[in-house]
Symmetry: D2
Subunit: 338 residues, 4 copies
């Protein structure tokens, strides 16, 4: 950690900072420049009281040198983490396209959706039983009944299932229904109590990025899960909030190479929630794979116009087949396969 | 609701939209312009399937005419909502300054803090027992023990208490300790299951704005609580995320007059978390009161430099006294009192 | 245009709006809903005084139905615009990679850079003679002398040149030195007097997006140029400002498919200024081409470490060769060539 | 400047950085921590090649210690700058409200506007002769004729005039008409050639903040003007772009105390362009003065509904009188006068 003193800081103020650092077990290096005095703290800076140093008299700024996350950092674990779910590996050479409807509606809809997903060549299925909706008056999901419908539909096609957990009280149902991958949604990225709970189990977690979370905050949320013991974490970029109103959210494609450098965890992209329009999904999907994503989370519905939620962003069964063919070519172009 | 057809939409596509609207029980008004055909839906547009209309062939855009919230809208409830906690009214002529430390540390610290708060003339006290922290390695709060310490300290000064609820499983403890106002924090503004739970009780709720939530989304979260039956809701603006790096968050002062027009609920401001620096608190506090806020939520610590969290943003006991004197003048200037 | 009246608007207020619309030569369609009265204006809404309607008593909101731009809109010109510069076409099947250093430094540097660019297989060269720098104390470019150096270096390799125009007073020098494509930079996207000047000539213009300009504003700036008579406009996405601090700007990859739908103009991407780091350029370049971009604007320097500006974002001669090979594969995967 | 080496940086890479720093005339301080080696550069860091250091092998990050601006920094000039225009002082105890219409329309309109402004007690007048409009088809201002009309109208009331300069070629006309304060608008905040030109004269400049400019970039633009010799600079906060759609721009009230600490220049606020609605102007004006602003730039029109531009954001003659009375009370509450 580097402590930058104000230009008029007194010698006593400098010494008070040094004492604070040394009492935390670190040593110091003082550099007296022409305009400022700068104090370097040598040792494990995670032990230092950052805010208290910032509040000390005479201190202008405090800069961290090391990253605040450790378990999820590539600096401490160089090889890519591979996550395997029933013979399917996420984070390896093979790119995984996880497809399915926004929400579980009926058994017939889910059976048909599962068939569409399998026929398109996707190896995992997504679907929502508990739905986070902006309005209390909107359809809130089928709940536990939805989990059952989903499980049955997916089993017929031998597809592992991905579904969103919104509340710690639902976790037992998720375990009972053998949910293969648990999704923590955008609005819960910093629901720390929920993160702690999924840190205690060993089911893989898809951790979606918050709507305006920095990459650093997102990795800290992953660190919450990892610190609990669950290292099976998949990061999912899904667009961030911006000033642009021509589409829903801004897909942060730059986050993909930045995450690949910062962490060993797999990175996937949700082009459906990012763009918010089915017509944008192909371009965003291709961009994500070209930029190095390990997979996609795509909304597909047997009959998009009749979907109970997000109707305008779901691909049709034909759309997903066409897209899969296009993505195979992009995957090859970057030396991978689908 | 207004449905704008694409410029090349066919008559059949127009009719399909009309059929969809009419089957939801509304009537239509068709306006054939020089460039586009526009369909107006007449009736309760909250009954219409917005997303499904948007996904219909030939549709270019769908615009809502009425606000998605109802109980919290001033349009349906013209008088200001007044919330009374032990003789203290929030939302009336009197402006309430809620002060206290970021987190409960020890009984001695809280006793002293309560004394500081009361001496400065503040009538309610804040303090955190459960703390949402970005890092899993940071101090997470004293938990239930903290509630007990807080209750005792505040009771000695006869101050009602405000503290943050992060998880539904903590609610029973909050009720046992007689928490007077429950705060739902920024990161939980769209934790819908938590909102539903606090909608079932009648304790007043301070609902903080999400870090990049629109005013409309924020009011929809308030509507979640209200729809459950709890209309005692106080909105708290606490700064939003922006591109600016010179300070922590950007206080959205414009939200104050906009909320005053849109809703009848009281609006308060947290200048401490917004600016992130004690030195910015006086200017932001004065701006908030001048713009029409009904109160403030301010961090005060008996000894800021030694605070266990957010040390650099807490006011000292002397600071809060000085600020209260300044705020009284601003309150008078806008025809109110403190 | 649709005018939404306030819920308590009087009949006289409705009539006043109708009169305003009719006096502008349009007709009206009045729809009296359960909660609001809505007035549709039928005819050329570009003739209507939008702001004056919004200011009329009883009006709640005014919504535009048609896009404010016309010449650049695909709605009015369905085929892609192809721009040809000395046998090289931008906007067609062939993707163009425009490469070169941030700034012109010396004849030797530019000669070597031109050789690097040509050897890598790029067909156009970029370089800055006039430099917009945030600091008045930073190197401001070689000016007219730089144009001369650039012209000579590029001519030896038969490369058309792209360079930035910052001030109308420099335009004559640009014409004298036969600049093949004039770049209007991010900071000048809404320098309307400059846009009007380049609207009077016929040299192709690369119009970079402003740092927080919406797609609609950007197209309106293109419309400024087009309205003057110059339809040879290339749009360049270069990253927008966001809250993220892990890299410089956020590349808006979604803008590519949105622009392809909205306009017939070619769209290119500048991955160097977006990411701000050479290490991010390959991933962003591949994403851009996969999403449908017609070309790239890439910083390449014979010796990046010694570059006089933006040293950390320039590719080396070897980097650009490697990237070109990778991009050829992506181009093929999307049915195009480089 | 502090150079943070990568964790695996070699000794040779460390030495290369040291050599680069020393060859620029500075000395170094090397601190070898447990995880990283850090190099401090001692001396005038403005002489160091920031980007080139960042591009050096083995370097992870480079942090500046001193601010990039100097003439405008309070660190080097502690007293407030006072700017006097015909007996009126900006930046002193007296707060200045600069009022007037968005654009010059006719002599009658401006005569009436000047009378309204003077009668309300405002001491300076604003008005636009050259208008930056997003659309090429919108009214572009009356140009030089507008300057003449404005000058005549203001002279009758003895009001100094403030008007916007968009292009260097208009500067002579501005001098001829004796414009008292020249405004550089939001879209030209980084039009560096224009900044250099107004740096050569001695007329006070109002420099508006760019739509998404950081405070640091804004001060760098002020430094451009100051570096040319013109130190009469007034900073004008006018709202920044955000994700919020409930109003036009987000007034950054926090910028006021931050600027007051960082610079000695006067700071004013434009509440009209920020909120974009006349109804929001009073609350934003009061907030600005309460937060420490030295003045306001407010749109007032004799007949807002008929204004040729920004009709919905102008105050009426009665509105401005009422507002002035309210602002006097706020000014007193913060120990100033209007």
């Amino acid at each position: 950690m580097i402590i930058i003193m104000q230009s008029h800081a007194t010698e006593a103020e400098v010494q008070a900072v040094v004492t604070k650092i040394e009492s935390a077990g670190l040593t110091t290096n003082i550099s007296r420049g022409t305009e400022r005095t700068i104090i370097g703290a040598i040792g494990n800076e995670r032990e230092l009281p950052h805010e208290s140093l910032l509040a000390s008299p005479g201190v202008d700024d405090v800069m961290r040198i090391v990253k605040p996350y450790k378990i999820v950092a590539r600096e401490w674990h160089e090889e890519n983490t591979l996550i395997t779910v029933k013979d399917i590996t996420i984070g390896g050479d093979e790119i995984q396209i996880i497809a399915g409807p926004c929400s579980v509606e009926t058994q017939a809809q889910m059976d048909l959706a599962a068939q569409n997903v399998a026929e398109a060549g996707c190896r995992l299925m997504r679907g929502g039983a508990f739905k986070p909706r902006t309005s209390p008056y909107a359809f809130q999901g089928k709940g536990v009944e939805g989990l059952e419908i989903f499980r049955q539909a997916a089993d017929k096609q031998n597809l592992p299932i991905v579904t969103e957990l919104m509340d710690v009280r639902q976790l037992d149902s998720f375990l009972e229904h053998g949910v293969d991958i648990i999704q923590i949604g955008t609005r819960n990225m910093q629901n720390f109590d929920l993160l702690k709970e999924v840190g205690k189990i060993h089911i893989p977690i898809i951790l979606k990025r918050g709507l305006c979370s920095t990459i650093s905050e997102w990795l800290m949320s992953a660190e919450y899960i990892a610190a609990g013991g669950n290292h099976n974490i998949i990061l999912c970029e899904r667009g961030v909030r911006s000033f642009e109103t021509a589409y829903r959210n801004m897909l942060d494609v730059t986050a993909i190479p930045v995450l690949k450098k910062e962490t060993h965890l797999p990175v996937i992209v949700d082009p459906s929630h990012a763009g918010g329009k089915a017509a944008l999904v192909p371009a965003l999907s291709k961009a994500a794979i070209a930029a190095g994503a390990d997979g996609l989370l795509v909304e597909v519905h047997p009959n998009p116009c009749e979907a109970w939620c997000d109707a305008d962003q779901a691909l049709s069964p034909l759309d997903i087949k066409t897209l899969m063919a296009e993505l195979k070519l992009i995957a090859q172009a970057v030396g991978r396969k689908i």
